[in-house]
């Protein structure tokens, strides 16, 4: 008898749970959030999560009149891990909208997966490989951030202005650095710069002594497109080996997560120019407000950076787009999210670094910066603005039929 009563209670509880679950799902929208909390971009991934959370915090966890439930997952910058994590969020946790992933190769893989889930809307995290939106774009994959090649616009000219006529490229061997190098070189080569050597190193390779040994004596500077732990290791080893050539950075080489890594030697970075969607010292009021909000919510004592990193900003932008879209359709995700997607496509997104529109491949057209690392009075390193370039589209102003996507060998000007 006692046992039976227990079973009844259990069944009752289950019914109640199912019922409340149904009510619950009508008033909440689940958003999956994917970033790398492991591997070479672990630190950047954590800051990306902060940026995405900040966008939600700013509207008290509500959008389109519904409560937003964030479900997080982590990958380690490998495409297959990112797809598995996304799959788990979509198929097991049943999220309505996905935001992520962080890294270039991951973005391409998640874009391909998105084609198999036509009822879910995928919004990029901070992945910046050209191919994610340029080659076989997916109807339900949106990217509100400019990508790797767009981020480097203006840098080729800045490098020549500094007197760097010949440079060696050192970059990780995957899609995002291909895009970054293409963005840099297409401008640099056109204006007469030479790139005699390109070294593609494995992501997370750690030991750069071999590459450092290959640096020819007759180059003026190094173009270093490494991120996260890789950048830290390279800089450290290059300095220890007696290297003293000036550097030109990729977008994530001199991001806040690198400028503030745990350790002492950072001064060699002062004077490094880079192309980036974020510049710490940009003085537009919207950007200042964003930085202040970040600092208030994630003070350095709680693990935040002195100033938000690229990943925080870009995740913030994409999450804001997801939430603005929900506001625009008042939380209506019916009909395979058709209205929602239309709203996203037409949206003119207000971001801390200017307005962003989407092109027909659902890729952002927006602004980027050319920056230079300087040291402030307190000894913190930050990026000051050398130049801001607006309205950059994915083909960098080149005609679509003439535009070639970046790869190991493209472009080339030895």
């Amino acid at each position: 008898m006692k046992k039976r009563a227990f079973v009844h209670t259990l069944v009752g509880a289950a019914v109640l749970a199912a019922f409340s679950g149904a009510v619950y799902s009508q008033q909440t929208v689940k958003i999956g959030l994917l970033a790398t909390l492991e591997g070479p971009f672990a630190a950047g991934g954590a800051d990306g999560m902060r940026g995405a959370e900040l966008a939600l915090k700013q509207r008290n966890g509500m959008a389109g009149g519904k409560k937003i439930e964030l479900i997080k997952a982590s990958s380690d910058a490998k495409p297959d891990v990112a797809v598995n994590a996304t799959r788990k969020l979509v198929e097991q946790d049943k999220v309505d909208i996905m935001v992520g992933p962080l890294s270039g190769g991951e973005g391409i893989a998640v874009k391909d997966y998105s084609k198999t889930q036509p009822n879910i809307t995928f919004i990029n995290g901070s992945s910046g490989a050209q191919a994610a939106t340029l080659v076989n774009p997916s109807q339900n994959f949106f990217r509100f951030n400019t990508e790797g090649a767009q981020w480097m616009v203006g840098l080729g000219k800045a490098a020549l202005d500094k007197g760097y006529k010949r440079v060696m490229v050192i970059a990780e061997d995957y899609a995002f650095p291909y895009s970054q190098v293409q963005g840099f070189m297409s401008e640099y080569c056109r204006l007469g710069g030479k790139v005699p050597v390109k070294a593609w190193v494995p992501l997370g390779g750690k030991d750069y002594s071999s590459v450092i040994a290959r640096i020819p004596n007759d180059v003026d500077a190094l173009v270093v497109v490494l991120g996260g732990a890789d950048a830290v290791n390279f800089l450290n080893q290059y300095e220890a080996s007696g290297g003293n050539k000036p550097m030109v950075g990729g977008s994530i080489t001199v991001s806040q997560d690198i400028l503030n890594y745990k350790g002492k030697r950072r001064d060699s970075l002062v004077g490094t120019i880079a192309g980036s969607p974020i510049a710490d010292a940009y003085d537009a009021p919207e950007f200042k407000a964003f930085v202040a909000d970040y600092q208030k919510n994630y003070p350095v004592s709680a693990g935040g950076y002195p100033s938000p990193s690229l990943f925080a900003l870009v995740y913030y932008i994409n999450m804001k787009a997801a939430l603005d879209g929900l506001d625009a359709v008042k939380g209506d995700l019916s009909g395979g999210q058709a209205k929602y997607r239309e709203a996203l496509q037409k949206m003119v997104l207000k971001t801390p670094v200017g307005e962003v529109r989407l092109d027909s491949n659902r890729q952002a057209i927006g602004s980027t910066f050319v920056t230079e690392v300087v040291k402030d009075a307190k000894g913190n390193l930050f990026n000051k603005v050398l130049r801001k370039v607006d309205g950059i589209d994915q083909t960098l102003g080149i005609k679509k039929e003439d535009f070639k996507m970046g790869s190991r060998d493209e472009p080339s000007c030895p």
């Binding site: 672990a42 061997d173 030991d207 350790g263």
Partner: protein, 315 residues
């Protein structure tokens, strides 16, 4: 006949390597010799970590797949000790001791109760490595921790013939690896405890019957093996920095070193480490895109022609 084939295969292996070396020296002398030095110094780090692994896995046949986690733990402990006290030497000692202590706990709590059960040991230690890695990430975070080298090892060593300049710290790894190797060899082959360890591995029951406390001997060996991983961690925290994920990388390197070199042999671990270190760095310098392949080609070749490793002996 068999002698002929031995010669034949050695020629097949040696001639292309020699041709490559001549070409590389002719092409860019500096690059060739720097890469050689890079390979040997990387080998030194691999050796320090893998020699601990060869004690535990090769000699005692305890499958400890949490060896990489001990490396990570040692590295972090070293980082924080150096941060607080400012003494690099203290960091090295602390890294060694903490990892040794954790290793000792693992031996007493886990391996003692599953002696000889390889599969159980494998599963338990894989689980343990995941738990340790996640605990470390939870406590310390996932940021890159770059430890500073001691003052007198910072910067480059200049005016070396052929290669002009080289990192002092990295150069220092070479004698360090050599010293540890020699000490370990002497310990195993020339001391009473070393003799007991070798005897215990061959016949545990017989050694116990002669009045030796086998459990104590094994616990001590395990602690030394684990301590070496922690020691390597502190060294690696300076050169390669500490970040989650390093544990798996070093575990894989240790596995390859021990398999290539031969299980349970200190000299074998040295040979394996040199082969792996040199192959990795030359791969990165001359064929960066395919560098990952070389490691596994070596593994395949060794397993095909010398399944017990280059210096391995029949069990």
């Amino acid at each position: 006949m068999s002698r002929f084939w031995k010669w034949f295969w050695s020629l097949v292996l040696v001639v292309p390597l020699a041709v490559f070396a001549v070409w590389a020296i002719w092409d860019n002398t500096k690059l060739f010799f720097i890469t050689m030095l890079n390979g040997l110094t990387l080998a030194s780090l691999y050796f320090i970590v893998a020699s601990g692994f060869t004690l535990v896995f090769g000699l005692m046949r305890n499958v400890n797949l949490a060896h990489g986690s001990l490396y990570l733990l040692g590295g972090y402990v070293g980082y924080f000790v150096a941060e607080m006290t400012g003494f690099f030497l203290l960091a090295l000692i602390a890294g060694f001791l903490v990892a040794a202590l954790v290793g000792l706990l693992m031996q007493v709590a886990i391996f003692r109760s599953m002696q000889g059960e390889d599969l159980r040991q494998t599963m338990v230690t894989i689980g343990l490595s995941i738990v340790i890695a996640d605990l470390l990430m939870w406590g310390i975070g996932a940021q890159v921790h770059q430890m500073s080298a001691p003052e007198w090892l910072v910067g480059p060593l200049r005016d070396i013939p052929l290669i002009t300049a080289y990192s002092k710290y990295r150069m220092a790894l070479l004698p360090l690896g050599l010293i540890i190797g020699v000490l370990l060899w002497l310990f195993l082959n020339r001391t009473r405890v070393g003799m007991m360890i070798r005897a215990g591995v061959d016949d545990r029951a017989m050694l116990a019957a002669t009045g030796v406390n086998v459990n104590l001997v094994f616990a001590a060996t395990f602690a030394i093996g684990a301590g070496l991983a922690g020691f390597g961690g502190v060294i690696g925290a300076v050169e390669l920095s500490m970040v989650p994920g390093e544990d798996v990388r070093l575990l894989l390197a240790s596995l390859i070193v021990v398999i290539v070199g031969g299980m349970g042999s200190v000299v074998g671990a040295g040979v394996g480490a040199i082969i792996l270190g040199v192959a990795e760095t030359y791969g990165l310098a001359y064929a960066p895109t395919y560098s990952v392949v070389f490691t596994f080609v070596i593994l395949v070749l060794v397993l095909a022609f010398r399944p017990r490793g280059i210096l391995g002996q029949a069990a």
